[in-house]
Symmetry: C2
Subunit: 381 residues, 2 copies
């Protein structure tokens, strides 16, 4: 909607897998989500520029994808077509395998189809800050994708190289995004495909200026243990009087971005594509870093909620620092929406409004990274 | 056969895809290859310890793979189940997609199945020297998998890290092996899977001590433009009076290993597994490096063959140096079989013996890396 509103001709290509996973999990977004047809109709009714929709699985229907690129000749493809939750990716062998198969083949099909089409199409891909890992050297700044290193040689000399930042994914989901990076690196090198990879932090917030125009346009609000993200979960938990669930010490530091900034960043990336022959552009799509325990404290101060420290289902560092370079988007004009801008209360309000749709039994995070973690979860009081 | 001969209980799990690709391509190994049943029978007849065979596609039949691991409880899995040719991987969108889908899902299914089985199984995987790329800093030695780098910080300080050597794959095939590395890194970190990754050079030679025991046990000898490897192709071309096909300047330097050393290395890797909790072991499985033009000259000197310089179908550096650390296998006792050990003539003899099976029209390399390369091939005289 943001892109259509900015004057772009927009077509959605989607297999609606996220809705189907809800069915499998027996859970729903806290906010009620209209059918795709009703959403598109609502958008036109509020005066939005018509958005086309094609039901297509890019990981499975290569020939249809190629035919679509050839007929539509898009300037750009915004690639969001990946299974996006770390806990879901760790639920079982089946979800691990689905995540790898869907994410790798989806990305690779898109790349192969662009090469086969012969068209010069800019890919804007949603990656994750998680590719870098959260265990790097303390005090070091995470650059935007590339790292300058010096390599000492046996003879005492050294040379300098600019490399893709080494990866250290924390889940099968995050791992697939590190695989994407290598697919992009190769196809950019061999076929000069123009690519922007957005290493996004954790999204929070619910509405943008445009989703507020009609109730049918509201965004998903995932609160469950598989798809809910930490800050939105805290705000929802506070809204319904459920203790804030902090895993481990809460010393994990993560990067955050409000959903309004997220859509703005995608637009900025599209408006500033790489030039022909330029290597993959990598942006850190985040605006601030916070310790999880500090977030819980902030939400508790705002709402009076209690905090419940629990065994951590993830295998991760007890704590980490996180200093991130995000100059690229700032220099393109992004004005960050921070936690202190009053939008925390807005999320609480949304959660209160739909509190009766919440299934409390789906709040705990039950997806365990290892057998040992699964035992720790089972031992929770 | 080498492992069975050394006393191991060996089971082959294979979908026989390499034979099926021959059918698709309409080409055959220069040496006649018996059916898998006849090969196993021949092995028993010459006194080999019985080898079991299961027809199974590990990239597609996860449940059967898991059931097999649970019933057989192997100490180790030697993972060769990947599409292995760079030119084949670059033939078309279909072969690019098959290579990615088969190689990534095959490797990932094996990892997920081992985790799900709960068994402590050592994976020995055939990787490639090609993951490092051939454009690194001149004069630098390629270490065995891991590189020590210093990272300069904005404040003038620097810290030292040991990272996976940055990758720079030269084809979709090579790219899949860089993806494997990240799969191994993650599953080793999260699930403590014990893994040895063999970064192999280009294999040459035909026979080992055991394949010579019966004609039905002979190895494949691929000479075609898709699956044939450079040194074996030169020796075969010399044997049948076909000019040696050098692509570009022949300044490409590559790593080599004789097939006898290759099987020996796999055995050494199995006999020296990583300990529990040890990170992925990476060995450079090669014994010597040579420029392609120098190999052509050597074969020409041996046989009197002529050399034919052709447009290069690959997108690669015109020339490169290649200094490789291979101490791991040497320290485990590998005694390298080098080009000067008289085995070059043995390959020529094998090729002469089967010269009438050669289809000369299949010798040229026609699989192009890019549209520009395809045009260069079409313009060949």
């Amino acid at each position: 909607m943001n892109l259509a509103d900015a004057g772009h001709d927009v077509m959605i290509v989607d297999n609606l897998s996220r809705r189907k996973i809800d069915i499998d999990l027996g859970v729903e977004s806290l906010t009620p989500i209209a059918t795709i047809g009703d959403r598109l109709k609502a958008w036109e009714q509020v005066g939005g520029k018509r958005i086309e929709f094609v039901l297509l699985d890019i990981a499975k229907e290569y020939d249809r994808l190629l035919a679509l690129l050839r007929s539509e000749k898009p300037d750009a493809v915004v690639h969001f077509a990946e299974q996006r939750a770390a806990p879901y990716s760790m639920k079982s062998s089946a979800t691990k395998r689905y995540t790898v198969d869907n994410n790798v083949n989806g990305t690779h099909n898109l790349l192969a189809a662009i090469v086969e089409s012969g068209l010069d199409i800019h890919i804007v891909h949603l990656g994750t800050m998680g590719v870098y890992g959260y265990g790097s050297h303390r005090g070091a700044t995470i650059p935007e994708g590339y790292l300058t290193v010096e390599v000492p040689q046996a003879d005492g000399s050294r040379f300098t190289e600019r490399i893709l930042h080494p990866t250290d994914p924390g889940s099968v989901y995050h791992m697939t995004k590190t695989l994407d990076q290598l697919l992009f690196f190769y196809y950019n090198k061999n076929d000069s495909i123009r690519i922007t990879d957005l290493h996004q932090g954790i999204v929070w917030g619910t509405n943008t200026r445009l989703t507020e125009k009609d109730p049918r346009l509201t965004n998903r609000f995932d609160y469950d243990g598989d798809y809910g993200t930490v800050l939105n979960r805290f705000l929802m938990q506070a809204a319904i009087g459920y203790p804030l669930t902090v895993h481990g010490t809460g010393g994990q530091t993560r990067a955050f971005i409000h959903i309004r900034d997220s859509v703005r960043c995608v637009q900025l990336a599209l408006d500033n594509p790489p030039t022909s022959g330029e290597k993959v552009k990598i942006f850190n799509q985040m605006t601030e870093s916070h310790r999880v325990a500090d977030l819980a404290e902030k939400v508790a101060a705002l709402t009076g909620a209690e905090t419940n420290y629990q065994a951590n289902p993830r295998k991760e560092a007890i704590d980490n620092d996180l200093i991130v370079d995000n100059r690229c988007f700032l220099e393109l004009g992004l004005k960050p929406t921070t936690l202190d801008d009053g939008l925390l209360s807005e999320v609480v309000d949304v959660a209160r409004r739909w509190a009766d749709r919440c299934d409390r039994s789906r709040i705990p995070c039950l997806s365990a990274w290892t057998t040992r973690q699964a035992e720790a979860i089972a031992a929770r009081p």
